[in-house]
Structures are given as structure tokens and as C-alpha cells.
């Protein structure tokens, strides 16, 4: 066999790239179902809590081109046992504003949308309860928080240690409601053939959607096929089934035609989840040398009346720094809001904003360099699980970042640098995200000519999985990239977990490596190393977490160093440059990995400066529910980004030594911006986003 260079690590161009730049890669809406498509549009509740008292579809039904109007009266019944936001059109009760109360199916999208306005709905409504505060009397402790973490973690005596500490910080940080807003709106196109359902759908894992459709419609999983080869961004909102999939399938069954439901941008604010707002009180106690003696991180956040989702906001605080006395808690208020869900790095994103801001405040109180403070509190092992790290290179990230950024010689004092109207400052924050592996099955076949087919129900939501998995397969099979044909994004393929929790390459990649190893062993053992003329096929996979997950603490780490400029006359905030250094284990594709890192960081800048969903406390709706009102970073908002990583595979994490990198970039990023903002202005804005008006608000308070 000829020697073949490894392609893992190389910056290979995306194999799906040429089709995507031309616009010919078919996303959910763009698939060809083989017959004319009917269009679905929805009537949404205008109240937050109550009941539909009158629903008259007659005028809509009479419009030319309308095929049907689905209401709770005539919609197909769904089976019990679904997540509580999925039984759409099953009752007249309303639990959040924007809930679907009727759906129109029509020949064209224009007719469907026009008919929505002709459906008459009246409600008996109660006052909406939508405002989160830390002093609500109805806050409760959930049984656990997202991803199976304990609600509270209490070690030692935090209050006693805080009382005895030489230096303390006690500050409350707030993050607003945020919406995932992938640019491809959620879209589901359903077609029934007898009792078999095919759905072309925008999601992060076809098998997840199959499970809910099969359960809801009383089908075997084999009767449902979900196809999602290309997905236009997701960031968590496409991880779970939402009402859109149920509705499209329901409507297609009723009209006996292919039906497509493409949400409007406005509907993206109520039907597919959001990140909860958080109110986070952080208290730190340290000795005069900056050694932490106490860490307390108490989180208040919301969930929906009909469904509990508890963001694991304080969980990164359980592992970032050493301290003998530790407390992390989560409390929820059940509000009349749409169900929240996961959004890029749920937990770490809001939690690291608070913790890393508080660390900066502590450094300022101590008169200590904030990088040095973090290094001084580096834990030798996981400070709460009391197990060793599989690998942890946070200190190297901070030190390398300091060197690349030009941190040395920085004046610790704030508001000391001006350039014309601009106040200039620099800030730092750490980043972290857990390393996990999920169950994944895989099939690899080879034909007599040495062409390999790799089949696994993974997803590429923009991560680069199409390319990175092909690279992994090429190396594992000791062949070249051109000999690999990869199939992902289809529930007919061997089952795997969705794209989420930065687990994709750890799970799907490990499954491919192990299955490839089996295939090569079989070729050697049974065929003397020769390819049989009619080929061979092998099934394999991984069961879930590897053997070291119980005995070691596994996380990716990173450091962000940021320059911020603030216009003294307008309060405008700019981020002209930033350096990020990551400890992400093996990097499979240098090009797409860099994109994951810089995209995550840029989303963190967006969170720091722009993103905020505003809910009207009286009328209970998201006021700024479009992309003109909900600001996300644009091209001009992002400056020069210096992205790099340490070349440190994590040998204990998985077959590839990688840590998962899709989410870590956003963690800590907003804190780095806020810390640099403080260094520029001397003003501490603790409630995101840091909009221009807050400069003058803080100036007045100072």
C-alpha cells in the first residue's frame, strides 16, 4: 500500500463549498418532493395566557386557493407523551403569545398569508406575567438543570469565608433574552405516502425529529424519514422538535399533498425557543495575594409556564478556579413566555459573562493583573469532582494570548488612554466548554475499486462536518479524500446524536475511526488485505462516553484578549481587534476550525454589544421581533481577529484527541469586551448589551 499523507489537521476547503457559494446546495425548502407544494401559514395567539373563546375560519376557507384551515376543532389528534409545546392545535388553551391557534393551507404562499388575516379569533385572557426579577416570591429550584447537572452545588462555608476574606466582590450581572436567529428560518416540508411520512426539514439531528413525529402520529420510527443534508445555521434552536414539524406533517396528511411550512422571521421569536434572561449574583472572596477562598454564583432565570427548561448557567463556575468554599445555585420563575431552549453554549455563555466579569472586578479590587489573578487560581484538579483533568491548558492560552496581543506593560488603571474622542481599553476573559461524546452508529462500505462509502446520521449546520468527517474517514481508512463518499443528514442512515453540545466530531468521528478500524481488520483477516470484487460493508460505532469520562474532568479552554474603544461623545462601542487562543485538543480541519472559533467569538461580541429581545411587560410580546429590531453583529462590527490554538491533543477524550470547538468561542467573549470597556471608561456595565446609552447612564451614576 502506498503511503498517504494524513489529512486530519490540514486546512482542506469545504467539500460542500462550491455548491453553497453558488446557492445550489438544497436546504429544506429547496428540496424537490416530486409534486406541487401547498403552503402553510399560521394564526398566532395575541395573548399570553387564556383560552380561545371564538375561532371562525369561514372567511378564510371561502378564499380561492385555500385548501383547508386547521383548528383545534378539526386538526388530527396527536398521541400523548410529547414535550408540552408539541401538541399543536390540540386544545383551545393558550400558554404563550405566538402559540399557533389555527393554520391555513393554500395553493400559494401569498394566499396562505392573506388567509391568515381572515381567520377570526377571540380570547378570554389573563394579564401576562412576563417580567423576571430576583425578588419574585415564586422562584423555585428545578430538580436538575439542563444536560443533567445538579441544580445546586455547595461545598464548605461560603458565607463564613466571605466574611473572613481580605478582599471581596459582590456584584449582580444581567443578560437579556436572546434569540438564536439562524438566517435560514425553520422550515419543514412534509409528504405522506400511505402511512409513511417523509420530511425535508431544517434541524440539527434528523433522528431527534423522527422520534417525536413517530410518537405524535402513532407510527413506527421506520415509517418516518427526515432528510436534512444542508442546514442554514441553527445555534440550538434547531436541536429539538418544535411545533413546525408537527404542523407540516398534520397539514400534509389532511390535504393529501406535500405541504411546506417556512416560519417568518417574526415567528422565529415565539415558536422555536430563545435563551432565558439571567440575573446572576456573584460573590468572590480572596486573600490579599489574590487566592480565592470563596466563590458564590447564584442564578435566577425564567422558564415557560407549560414547559421547564433550566439553563445550566452557573455550571462553568464549578470548575474554572480553585477555592475551598463554593456555592452555585439556579432558581427559576415560570412565566407566560414561549418555551426557552438551548442557544450556543447554554450555561457557559451567560455564566462565563458573570464569572469572568467578577474576576475582573476582583483583579481591580486587588490591584492585580487579571491574567495573573487567573493563573494564581488555577486548580490542580477539578475543584468539585476531585478528579484530574484529562488535559487543561488554560494558563498556556492566557500566556500565549498575552504575548500575541501585546498585553505586557498594560496600565492596570482604567480610563487612562484616549485617542481623540475615543477612550481605549483592553480586557481579558477565559473561555471553557465541556468535552463529551455521544452514542453514534456508522456504516462503512468499500467496493472492489477502493471507493469508500461512509454513512452516519450526523449533521453539518455550518460546522464543517461534511469536510472534517471526510478527512477523518480518509485517514482512518488510509486512503485519499477523493475516495471517500460521505452521507450525513438523513434518518435512514445509521443512528447518531445531533449536532449539539460540541459533540459532533467527538461522537461521529470516533464512530468512523472505530468502524474503519474494523473494516481494515476484516479486509486483512478475511481477504488477505485485498479488496474483494463485490466489496465489504461493516457496521460499528461508539456507545457514548469513553472510559475516562468518569475518572477525569474533560473540558476545552481558551482565552480572549480584546481592545475596546468608546466614543466619549456618543457612547458608541467598537472592538477593533481581539486575540483568542484555544485549547481544543486535536484540530481536524485548520480552516473550518478557525471559522468555528472566530464565528463563536464574533457572536460573543454581538451578545456584548447588540443582542436583546425586549418583551412588553403589559402586552407580553417581543417588541423587536425582526432583524431590524433585534440587532446582531454586522460585518462592520467585527474588527481584526487573531485566532490560534495550542497543538495539544487530549489523549483521554476520544479516539481523535479532540475536545469539540463549536461553542467555546462565544464563552467568555462578552466578559472580555465588558472588561475592556471598563478599562477604557472606568465604568462597569453589568447588564448586557452595552449599548451607547449605558455610557451616559453609568457616567451619571459615577
Amino acid at each position: 500500500m502506498t503511503t498517504i499523507d494524513r489529512v486530519v489537521g490540514a486546512g482542506v476547503d469545504r467539500i460542500d463549498g462550491p455548491a453553497k457559494v453558488r446557492g445550489t446546495a438544497p436546504y429544506a425548502y429547496e428540496q424537490d418532493p416530486g409534486e406541487p407544494i401547498a403552503h402553510l401559514a399560521v394564526v398566532q395567539s395575541t395573548v399570553n395566557r387564556g383560552r380561545v373563546t371564538r375561532l371562525d375560519p369561514a372567511r378564510a376557507e371561502a378564499m380561492t386557493g385555500v385548501l383547508t384551515v386547521l383548528t383545534p376543532d378539526n386538526a388530527p389528534r396527536l398521541a400523548e407523551g410529547l414535550a408540552s409545546d408539541l401538541p399543536v392545535l390540540q386544545s383551545l388553551d393558550v400558554a404563550y403569545q405566538g402559540q399557533v391557534v389555527a393554520a391555513v393551507v393554500a395553493e400559494t404562499s401569498e394566499i396562505a398569508r392573506a388567509a391568515v388575516g381572515a381567520v377570526l379569533v377571540e380570547y378570554a385572557a389573563e394579564e401576562p406575567d412576563v417580567v423576571l426579577s430576583a425578588d419574585r416570591q415564586d422562584l423555585y429550584a428545578p430538580e436538575q438543570v439542563n444536560a443533567g447537572f445538579a441544580t445546586d452545588s455547595i461545598i464548605g462555608d461560603v458565607d463564613q469565608a466571605l466574611g473572613a476574606a481580605a478582599v471581596t466582590v459582590d456584584a449582580t450581572y444581567e443578560t437579556p433574552t436572546q434569540h438564536n436567529n439562524p438566517i435560514e428560518m425553520h422550515t419543514s416540508m412534509a409528504r405522506w405516502d400511505g402511512d409513511s411520512l417523509t420530511m425535508w426539514d431544517a434541524n440539527q439531528g434528523p433522528h431527534t425529529i423522527v422520534n417525536d413525529l413517530a410518537k405524535g402520529f402513532g407510527l413506527d420510527r421506520g415509517q418516518v424519514r427526515v432528510i436534512s443534508p444542508y442546514v442554514g445555521g441553527a445555534f440550538g434552536s434547531k436541536a429539538f422538535t418544535h411545533p413546525n414539524q408537527m404542523l407540516a406533517a398534520m397539514a400534509a396528511r389532511v390535504v393529501a399533498r406535500t405541504v411546506v411550512f417556512e416560519l417568518s422571521r417574526q415567528q422565529m421569536f415565539s415558536l422555536v425557543g430563545h435563551r432565558t434572561p439571567t440575573i446572576q449574583r456573584v460573590r468572590l472572596g480572596a486573600d490579599a495575594d489574590g487566592r480565592l477562598t470563596a466563590i458564590s454564583h447564584e442564578v435566577v432565570e425564567h422558564t415557560a409556564r407549560i414547559m421547564e427548561f433550566a439553563e445550566q448557567t452557573a455550571t462553568p463556575t464549578r470548575l474554572m478556579y480553585a477555592a475551598e468554599n463554593r456555592r452555585t445555585t439556579h432558581r427559576l420563575a415560570r412565566l407566560d413566555v414561549p418555551p426557552p431552549t438551548i442557544m450556543r453554549a447554554p450555561g457557559e455563555t451567560p455564566g462565563m459573562f458573570a464569572l469572568e466579569s467578577a474576576m475582573d472586578e476582583l483583579a481591580a479590587a486587588l490591584g492585580m493583573d487579571p491574567i495573573e489573578l487567573r493563573i494564581r487560581n488555577e486548580p490542580a484538579q477539578d475543584p468539585e469532582r476531585h478528579v484530574p483533568w484529562s488535559s487543561r491548558h488554560l494558563v498556556e492560552c492566557l500566556r500565549t494570548g498575552a504575548e500575541r496581543f501585546g498585553w505586557a506593560g498594560r496600565d492596570l488603571r482604567p480610563r487612562k488612554r484616549t485617542e481623540g474622542r475615543w477612550l481605549v481599553g483592553t480586557g481579558v476573559a477565559s473561555a471553557t466548554y465541556p468535552t463529551r461524546r455521544r452514542r453514534a452508529q456508522c456504516r462503512i462500505s468499500v467496493d472492489g475499486r477502493g471507493r469508500y462509502t461512509v454513512e452516519i446520521d450526523g449533521s453539518d449546520i455550518g460546522t464543517g462536518a461534511w469536510t472534517a468527517l471526510s478527512q477523518i474517514a480518509a485517514d482512518a481508512l488510509a486512503t485519499d479524500l477523493g475516495s471517500i463518499e460521505l452521507h450525513i443528514g438523513d434518518s435512514r442512515l445509521p443512528r447518531a446524536g445531533g449536532a449539539g453540545g460540541s459533540t459532533g466530531l467527538a461522537s461521529w468521528g470516533s464512530a468512523i475511526v472505530l468502524t474503519a478500524r474494523d473494516l481494515r481488520r476484516r479486509l486483512d483477516d478475511e481477504y488477505g488485505g485485498q479488496l474483494p470484487a463485490d466489496g465489504v460493508s461493516v457496521d460499528g460505532g461508539v456507545e457514548g462516553e469513553g472510559p475516562h469520562a468518569k475518572t477525569h474532568s474533560m473540558h476545552a479552554f481558551g482565552a480572549h484578549l480584546v481592545e475596546v474603544r468608546v466614543d466619549q461623545d456618543t457612547g458608541e462601542v467598537r472592538v477593533p481587534r481581539a486575540t483568542s487562543v484555544y485549547d481544543g485538543g486535536t484540530i481536524v480541519n485548520a480552516k473550518t476550525a478557525r471559522s468555528q472559533f472566530l464565528g463563536g467569538f464574533s457572536m460573543g461580541v454581538s451578545m456584548a454589544l447588540h443582542e436583546e429581545s425586549l418583551i412588553d411587560p403589559r402586552l407580553g410580546h417581543y417588541v423587536n421581533h425582526d432583524l431590524a429590531g433585534y440587532h446582531v453583529a454586522t460585518n462592520a462590527d467585527i474588527g481584526e481577529l487573531d485566532i490560534s490554538w495550542l497543538d495539544e491533543p487530549d489523549e483521554l477524550a476520544n479516539e481523535l484527541g479532540l475536545k469539540g470547538i463549536g461553542e467555546i468561542g462565544i464563552t467568555g467573549a462578552a466578559a472580555a469586551v465588558a472588561n475592556a470597556y471598563w478599562h477604557a471608561t472606568g465604568l462597569r456595565v453589568r447588564d448586557l448589551p452595552i449599548t451607547p446609552d449605558k455610557y451616559f447612564r453609568e457616567l451619571d451614576l459615577a
Binding site: 446557492g23 438566517i183 435560514e184 428560518m185 449546520i461 455550518g462 467585527i638
Partner: protein, 174 residues
């Protein structure tokens, strides 16, 4: 109400009957099944639907199909002459100037517009001297001029060099 029109798209003429409420974007995507331009907001806020109308970039969701008349509509797919990728296509792939790829055909059409506008000396909000007949398409100019196209994956830091490399290759002042 329905009206008969002929849309000239990517070099081919398409006679069709449209509802007068139909946008150019929906006519392309739902009627002609040309799904190169994408729908990201349907309100002119995201730029994913950007196409060229007689060479000028427009949000096709804000153009009614019945108003297009004889104008030539060019999508990102239509920039690929004889099946060969356009220089911008190659540059976007080389610089990894996208992730999920959904906003990308709009970004590519917008970049075509930026190059033409810079050549024509059109100033932007960051142009220093508005009277200057020439524009230097600096990185800051590219950032500003590409800001009508949102990318939620935030590939911005790669879009800038991808566009700059093409500007360089085509002799646009930098």
C-alpha cells in the same frame, strides 16, 4: 389578481403568470425553483436574497415581480459562466468566507455590487472625501459596504479578505 410577465434570469427568459403580490424572491424560489437567492427575513433586513438587477444589487424580497420588466436578474448561480465558478465563488471557498452557507449567495451578489460601486467611485459612510472621484476599497470600506448582508455564523472576518482578494485581482483600487 394574476398578471403575465416574463422574467429574464441568469440569461434565460421565463414567461409566467404571477399573483401581483409575488415578490421577485418568491417568483424565483417558488415559481422558477431558482433557489440560489435565499429568504432570511422577507423584509429587506438581512440581505440573504440579494440578486443583481441589471448589475445593481437589490434585496429581491423588496421587489415585486411585476415591476422587474425587462431588467436582467442575476443570481449567484448565474455568475458561474459555462458552469465554471466565478472568481468570487473560488475566493469565498478559499477564505472559508461562510459556514452554513445560507447567506452566502446573497453575500456573493453583494460583493459583485461592491466591486462595481467602488469602480464607479460611489462613496460609502466610511469614505473620507465624498468628492473624490475614486474610492480605495480598503478593508474598512469592504466591511461597511458588506454590512447589509447579515451572517449569523459571523464569517465576517473571512468575508473581508475573500472580497479583498478579488478586488486586488481585478485591479480595483485598495
Amino acid at each position: 389578481m394574476d398578471t403575465e410577465i416574463t422574467l429574464r434570469v441568469d440569461g434565460a427568459a421565463h414567461p409566467l403568470t404571477v399573483d401581483t403580490r409575488t415578490t421577485l424572491l418568491d417568483a424565483l424560489r417558488e415559481r422558477l425553483r431558482n433557489t440560489s437567492p435565499k429568504k432570511g427575513c422577507d423584509h429587506g433586513q438581512c440581505g440573504a436574497c440579494t440578486v443583481l438587477l441589471d448589475g445593481r444589487r437589490v434585496n429581491s424580497c423588496l421587489v415585486l415581480a411585476v415591476t422587474v420588466g425587462d431588467a436582467e436578474v442575476t443570481t449567484s448561480d448565474g455568475l458561474a459562466a459555462d458552469g465554471q465558478p466565478h472568481r468570487l465563488h473560488r475566493s469565498f471557498v478559499e477564505y472559508d468566507a461562510f459556514q452554513c452557507g445560507y447567506c452566502t449567495p446573497g453575500q456573493v451578489c453583494s460583493a459583485m455590487g461592491v466591486l462595481a460601486e467602488a469602480r464607479a467611485g460611489w462613496p460609502s459612510a466610511v469614505t473620507g472625501d465624498l468628492d473624490d472621484a475614486d474610492v480605495d476599497l480598503t478593508d474598512a470600506e469592504i466591511r461597511e459596504r458588506m454590512s447589509g448582508n447579515l451572517c449569523r455564523c459571523a464569517a465576517y472576518a473571512n468575508i473581508v479578505p475573500a472580497v479583498a482578494a478579488v478586488a486586488q485581482a481585478e485591479g480595483v483600487r485598495r
